[in-house]
Symmetry: C2
Subunit: 351 residues, 2 copies
């Protein structure tokens, strides 16, 4: 809080140098290098004087100037579908913290999952000369990613994965499996899935994890028990209504791949006079803070969102060092709550 302490301009290396009667480059070396380069650059006594004065005057290096020379901005660009999606917001909080810890700053922008916007935002970030990108809105048909690779732009994926690229995600297949096992054990035999957007690995993986496990347990589930939808509450409501409107026997359980979609589905059930947790079990995904606080608390797969963000920062650091890190998949856990705590009601289960 003092780099402009006395009304005027910020303190520069030159100011320090002048004050101490030494050359700016010496000051730079002292301040810049941990102690390795610092040796040989100045005597211990001088180094101490430099550090002392820097502290006193509240010197803080101008990152603009530094990066002009070093060609590194210590800036990370983060692209998410929308920051008002709680899941992404929390991942971003993880990024923000982790990147600050390693001396980077993060920039976020929304793409609204619109391919054109994704391009535009990436361009904006590159124009700002970010050192690397964390992409939270990757689409499975990733032409864009190939292009970035060709252009040698360092990037990692977060939240959603695309095979062949480094990514930090939840192990969504495992998450889907957890739900399948849980619902099966609770005696459900008729289920439906609100699957999310087809272009997102989160949706695809959670769904396929669920479906595969369900079948391996001996359950049957057909393609039209899987409804693709938007991730938000309204999308979940529509999907829920679609499921209920079908001619088929009503499912005793619904798995929505996202808490917000699950909330929407709960709304649809309620509109039909059905009680969530009694007539129909509902399970969500991500265990957002709301899940536990809903009037009927929502069973949800807990995914370590902040850690996913932190991991993404580690991965991009590795990429910037020139490594090619393996995808990281963090483990989900199931939080069973009232919305799916009761066994499937006998008559229906017997159907």
């Amino acid at each position: 809080m003092k780099e402009k302490a006395d009304g005027g301009r910020a303190v520069t290396l030159k100011d320090l140098a002048r004050e101490l009667g030494i050359h700016p480059s010496t000051v730079s070396r002292v301040l810049h290098s941990g102690s390795d380069v610092a040796k040989g650059a100045a005597s211990a006594a001088t180094a101490e004087r430099v550090r002392e004065l820097a502290r006193k005057l509240g010197y803080s290096p101008d990152p603009q100037a530094a990066s002009l020379r070093t060609r590194r901005t210590k800036l990370l660009g983060v692209i998410v579908p929308r920051l008002s999606d709680l899941v992404l917001a929390i991942m971003y909080e993880g990024i923000d913290e982790a990147s600050a810890e390693v001396g980077y700053s993060a920039f976020v922008m929304n793409s609204r999952d619109d391919p054109e916007e994704q391009r535009r935002k990436i361009d904006l970030m590159l124009a700002r000369r970010v050192d690397g990108l964390i992409i939270g809105d990757a689409h499975l048909d990733g032409g864009l990613l190939q292009e970035l690779t060709d252009r040698k732009v360092p990037f990692v994926l977060m939240n959603r994965r695309v095979p062949g690229y480094p990514s930090a995600t939840c192990d969504d297949v495992a998450g889907g499996e957890l739900v399948a096992s849980h619902l099966w054990e609770m005696g459900h035999r008729q289920v439906a899935v609100i699957a999310g957007e087809r272009y997102a690995s989160t949706a695809v993986d959670r769904t396929s994890g669920f479906v595969d496990r369900w079948r391996s347990l001996g359950g049957t589930i057909s393609d039209d028990d899987v409804v693709w939808s938007r991730f938000d509450t309204a999308g979940g409501r529509e999907a829920g209504e679609e499921i209920l409107a079908r001619g088929k026997p009503r499912p005793t359980a619904i798995f929505a791949v996202n808490d917000f979609a699950a909330i929407g589905a709960m709304g649809a059930l309620r509109s039909r006079g059905l009680t969530v947790g009694e007539d129909v079990a509902v399970v969500g995904y991500n265990d957002t803070s709301l899940a536990a606080e809903l009037p009927i608390p929502l069973t949800s797969v807990h995914s370590p969102m902040a850690d996913i963000g932190r991991t993404a920062v580690q991965l991009i650091q590795a990429v910037l060092r020139g490594d090619k890190p393996e995808p990281a998949q963090l483990k989900p856990t199931l939080c069973v709550r009232e919305s799916s705590a009761a066994r499937a009601s006998a008559e229906v289960a017997a159907t």
Copy 2:
């Protein structure tokens, strides 16, 4: 998507100049100035050649270099309590859009409403040489703000106001008044307020707007009908429980100054076996996307969150131009839903 088009380095002014056989400064003037300075700098023909080549090579100016010279970074720093608060996330979306429109980029950081964090984050932003700050987490006892003013750091407040500083907020007093009028009209006479954090103008204004209007309508409300709390769901639940645990007659309506607190309060009511909207009306604030989608849809004061963000950008632009803009207060509107749609039940109202 092409400034690094052919594998190598980014295109610079010098590259363009060399290619065209003219001086970099001429290129700069052509590209930089809208057409005013451009005239006199180069012939129309040359100007066209420059623009043409710039387009072809995908030239994008290095903002680092530019800002080193111009002392402007075109960067805005945004501080919010937490981005995982949907309200702030949406305001940030407004900022993001509006700032992009005027050629700025925005940086966000979380302060978690912790004064020490606020300082630290502000320092980080200033170290990045942001042109101005948008502060979304101002505390009413604003020593920090005075300090920033003294240091001549350009800033505006958003979401929360502090008298004497430029700010973009919802007219929270008016919002509180809307709720008071509504509940009064619905026949409620015993009410309680979940007031939020004392240090936030949002909490204080909404509460005082409500209380003052309530009294002017002839209602009575005492200090202990107002419970200060955190803004999140857990805080709302605790406050709700506190209200219900008091010896006093149970209120027929609760106004929570925040949707999440309202949801928490709804949970507390439900745990007691009370039905929201029948036994007790609940009203929230902000009309977040969830409000309408809850199992029992929540009456809420709609505040134009994205517009508040956009307005904050306009204000900071004004400050950067040297103006001293007046605080902007955007108008809220009331969205009545099921949680408060029924008239207060007669027996209780008659008490």
